[in-house]
Symmetry: C2
Subunit: 102 residues, 2 copies
Amino acid sequence: MKLAQTYKALGDPVRLKMVQRLSENPTYTLGSLSKGLGVTRQGARKHLMMLEEAKLVRLVPEGRETKVLLNKASLTKAKSFIAELERQWETRLEALRDFTEQ
Amino acid sequence: MKLAQTYKALGDPVRLKMVQRLSENPTYTLGSLSKGLGVTRQGARKHLMMLEEAKLVRLVPEGRETKVLLNKASLTKAKSFIAELERQWETRLEALRDFTEQ
DNA sequence: ATGACATGCAACCGATATGTTGCATATTAC
DNA sequence: GTAATATGCAACATATCGGTTGCATGTCAT
């Protein structure tokens, strides 16, 4: 399951915070995004590479710095999958209701 | 961030498959849910305990077997968080549009 | 051209995750 | 009561994670 990698990437407080920041503001660089997270720049970099592996962000070198771009489509897929699961159990509940109403 | 634990729990192919199965059919036991996943029962059990830690499932012993119950609320929270992120970047885009239209 | 800035790469560490085998225990069926 | 079934617990092995320090490299400003 490829989606598992997406959820895994979101499954760390530091990385989740990064994604949250990027949702609020799209102008982060690798350096600016690494500050205030309680880890060193190199630690933050590892997290960012995992987010990139999971296609949740793109890292775009630009001169001396590296822009961090949020891939919204991946987040939307992660959301939609859960929505699909919800749809399944609701369908099941409807079927049960139809049955008991007879 | 407590949500991170939820995403982390979903971030493994075996566990994601388990959640998917439980969404389709609520009548699984620990044993029946452990079959066909490519891991031993003990391996599957570890995964289930992580799902329970993350409050995605409840394990209810019942006689000789253990029922596995899906906690839908946790999944819904995981979905809503992403929806909230989407709302944020959309708001930002609207603000930008309003600005450039002047 | 020199210094400050932003980043990349490698080595290392301890903790946790992922998976196994082996054995013990409790419940149900016959 | 005996056997089959469903599960629990412990020990172990290997890989990955999460984090660090140290150093090298490339870019920008003055």
